[in-house]
């Protein structure tokens, strides 16, 4: 990361798309940059934070991030914000109106679609947002293009008075490729100039500007038709011509080196004229885009009826060579090239686990004990793993912050069978600040009988440990005011006696507190206090071990879910009545164990003890 920051102009480096974009934003002279973390976009702002002469922040959510960038742009600063695909849904309210008003300083919004869904709750095609909001879309195919296009995006934004959408996918963000970097060009901030007719979006003022927004699209189309980002690459095999964008272009070139390819980087408005020209020279035209048929539909609407696209290709996932080749070969009636010669071996699944000593396990262990008495509405973060083995203690996950409203809805929609169940909402600290607060306020306001558990681990764990207003640090690592969750929820109206703070490592206390709070028919909040194991606030202690002679094989400690605890051997015992049961004797991996002591109380016979007799804190 720092290599890109220090790189002299014209050096060649191996950079991820995210690092390349950060360099491009800085070189473009941007002065304001904002984001809320989200895979695969997170590293853009982490990288930008290292550059001088630019303000960069973690915002509490994507809508605020976009608004900060809008304020920067209105003030004449080149401004940038980044988010993962679903973040743009959150930011969309601001988006839909700023594209009416336009920009002063160039405004670029990078949105990263998780094509292939390596870590997201859906696989949406965010290019819809560009069309919906009438803004141009640029789609880089690799790091070098991402770097170049983000710089061009600022020019385009200012030239056409519009925010620009830089559409990324996981294969752009996280692939490292060779990039040649350049020099920073300074762009001074002009300062905010009051212009209410432009910026105060009353109906009259907005109405006055919409014609210009529509007219702008004609200009953008002309630019797309002549843009060097859209180029024809000729090929001698004219049976199929490809129109393609983003990383799919790379896969097409890999699989069909002799075919003509219309490579689109400036993809909305779609340069129909270029495609028409291409269509006349080939037998079949195939649009290869990830994931929805957006260019394809635009082209069909423009009258190019004889084109292929999603009739051959899937509408989900990446269009990698192993997907493209079988889909396309049928078109020209060629036999399929031979695939892999070695058979697929599938040993066992290996899902991600929580880290040893993750404080979330204390809550899920307790919830799993209460499983029959509670409905558990969950949220998004490392704690979503509570849905899995061995806890199975999460019933819903939809979108960030949704645990609150969904819990309230469940509370208001009780049946005869569920009328006595506790309704619990589980949410992480970063997620609570992102979108959970309004939901809790709604629970209080509407007298919901919900127990909200805020897992305050002092970081945004899921995305790799970013700061937020609850950590006391900013993006750049400086001290920041640290929000007090107990005071915050009290201010939202939760009764002080219904706000409980617990150490999640003390299993009996966690269990008792949850049991008490679900019994009270009022909104209540339980806040946990231990930091994420991977955060700077976590202190490792000396590891524990299981005394083999004392262990009875009950395997209760396994139910805590700590990956440091494993089954060492099993024994089948026959009971007096002839039935059998299996005993599982456990062991603790001392290299993994942090000495958190969470599992100690789960062991009835007290077999879990310090690995060294005179254990001291290291």
């Amino acid at each position: 990361m720092s290599a890109a920051v220090q790189a002299q102009p014209h050096t060649r480096l191996l950079l991820s798309g995210n690092d390349a974009i950060a360099r491009g934003v800085w070189e473009a002279g941007a002065k304001v940059a904002s984001a809320y973390p989200g895979t695969p976009s997170t590293e853009i702002l982490e990288s930008l934070a290292l550059y001088p002469d630019l303000y960069a922040e973690w915002s509490v959510n994507e809508k605020v991030a976009l608004e900060v960038a809008i304020g920067g742009s209105m003030s004449g600063a080149r401004s940038f914000c980044a988010m993962k695909h679903v973040g743009l849904n959150v930011a969309s309210d601001a988006l839909m109106t700023i594209t009416v008003a336009g920009v002063v300083g160039g405004l670029v919004i990078a949105v990263a679609d998780d094509v292939g869904m390596s870590s997201s709750q859906n696989e949406q095609d965010s290019r819809y947002w560009g069309r919906f909001a009438h803004m141009p879309i640029l789609e880089p195919a690799d790091s070098q293009e991402a770097y170049e296009m983000v710089k061009y995006a600022f020019e385009l934004s200012e030239a056409c008075n519009t925010p620009v959408l830089l559409r990324l996918t996981t294969r752009v963000c996280h692939v490292k490729a060779v990039v040649e970097v350049g020099e920073r060009v300074a762009h001074d901030i002009t300062g905010f100039a009051s212009d209410p007719r432009r910026w105060v979006m009353t109906p009259a003022n907005a109405k006055g500007q919409i014609p210009a927004q529509i007219a702008r699209e004609t200009k953008l189309l002309a630019l797309a038709e002549s843009s060097p980002l859209n180029r024809m690459e000729d090929g001698k095999d004219r049976r199929i011509g490809f129109v393609t964008s983003g990383p799919a272009y790379m896969h097409v070139r890999e699989c069909f080196p002799d075919s003509p390819v219309l490579k689109l980087g400036f993809t909305y408005p779609v340069p129909v004229g270029l495609v028409e020209k291409m269509a006349s020279g080939v037998a079949h035209l195939v649009v290869v885009e990830e994931t929805e048929p957006l260019m394809e539909n635009d082209l069909k609407a423009a009258g190019l009826s004889r084109i292929h696209g999603k009739d051959l290709l899937p509408r989900l996932g990446e269009l990698t060579p192993n997907v493209l080749i079988p889909a396309i070969h049928g078109l020209v009636g060629e036999p399929l090239p031979k695939g892999s010669v070695y058979p697929k071996i599938d040993p066992f699944p290996r899902p991600p686990t929580m880290c040893p000593a993750c404080p979330h396990m204390g809550v899920y262990y307790s919830l799993s004990r209460l499983r029959k008495q509670v409905q558990i509405s969950g949220d998004i973060g490392c704690y979503t793993l509570g849905a899995g083995h061995p806890w199975n203690a999460l019933d819903t996950t939809i979108s960030m912050g949704a645990s609150m409203g969904i819990a309230l809805g469940m509370d208001k929609a009780r049946s005869e069978a569920t009328k006595d169940k506790g309704v619990v909402a589980v949410i992480g600290d970063s997620t609570f600040l992102h979108m959970g607060m309004p939901g809790l306020l709604d629970i209080v306001y509407n007298r919901g009988n919900v127990t909200a558990i805020i897992l305050d681990n002092r970081t945004t764990g899921m995305t790799g440990g970013q700061n937020h207003p609850g950590t006391g640090k900013s993006l750049t690592g400086e001290d920041a005011p640290r929000i007090d969750f107990a005071k915050l929820v009290e201010a939202l109206g939760v009764a002080p006696e219904r706000i409980r703070t617990v150490d999640p490592y003390l299993l009996p206390v966690v269990y008792k507190t949850i049991k008490e709070e679900i019994a009270v028919p009022a909104p209540s909040v339980i806040i946990t206090t231990r930091p994420c194991v991977l955060s700077e606030f976590y202190d490792r202690l000396s590891p524990l071990k299981v005394i083999d002679e004392t262990c009875t094989g009950c395997a209760n400690c396994i139910k805590v879910g700590c990956p440091a605890i494993t089954v060492k051997r099993t024994e089948t015992r026959t009971r007096a009545d002839g039935t059998t049961h299996e005993l599982k004797f456990t062991t603790i991996d001392t290299a993994m164990c942090t000495g958190c002591r969470m599992c100690v109380e789960s062991c009835g016979p007290k077999a879990i003890v310090p690995a060294q007799p005179t254990a001291v804190a290291q």
Binding site: I345, F348, C382
Partner: protein, 210 residues
């Protein structure tokens, strides 16, 4: 430089250093003047999940992903993971496998079984496997973190550039940040090389015997 692309798939478990190994390899290839792409899909921040990294280099690399059936080398940091990705090898490609067995919680708690001998499974499927006991070598050298360097040493003689170039890439990093670690990494690299040469001899012997 010809048009041949070298495809190396590195696999393992989150937290094992797969990405670092891929990064070092990619940097070494780039230092040779190759175009290079390195791709990884690692789900979430947590430990313990499956991690793969694709490294492709040559005169001009298009797609960043290795198509199943086209990897020249599979570098497995864990033996069952090696078997999981073995179908990505091209005919005649080699699997360089660290023989350590790391069972995930769903296996140790009895929901799934860990295969008795993943290497045998791979060989039964016809995959040429070279075994490297990187865990033991690292322990003998006194530092478990050396697994990474050992595995890179193991593949060093299977690359289209001299082993010394890869070694320099590793050692160079330590020279800057932790000079005290230079020597032990050199030893680890050499130990990995030798282990794989021994393993290779085993593979050839087996080919003759069968």
């Amino acid at each position: 430089m010809n048009d041949v692309i070298t495809n190396i798939l590195i696999c393992g478990i989150g937290g094992q250093g797969v990405m670092t190994a891929a990064e070092i390899l990619a940097q070494a290839a780039m230092a040779q003047g190759f175009d290079c792409k390195k791709s990884e899909i690692a789900g979430m921040a947590q430990r313990g999940g499956v991690v793969t990294s694709h490294v492709r280099f040559g005169r001009k690399v298009w797609s960043p992903v290795i198509t199943p059936g086209s990897a020249d080398l599979l570098v497995a940091f864990e033996v069952a993971e090696g078997s999981r990705w073995a179908d990505h090898l091209r005919p005649g490609g080699t699997a360089m496998v660290n023989t350590i067995r790391l069972a995930p919680p769903i296996v140790s708690s009895g929901l799934y079984k860990y295969p008795a001998d993943p290497v045998a499974q791979m060989r039964a499927a016809g995959v040429p496997v070279i075994e490297v006991d990187a865990g033991t070598i690292a322990r003998d050298l006194g530092n478990l973190r050396l697994v990474n360097t050992i595995m890179l040493g193991a593949i060093a003689d299977h690359l289209p550039f001299p082993a010394s170039e890869l070694e320099e890439q590793i050692v160079g990093r330590f020279r800057e940040r932790k000079p005290a670690m230079v020597e032990v990494n050199q030893r680890a690299f050499e130990a990995g090389r030798q282990a794989s040469q021994r393993g290779n001899a085993d593979v050839s012997a087996r080919a003759v015997n069968s």
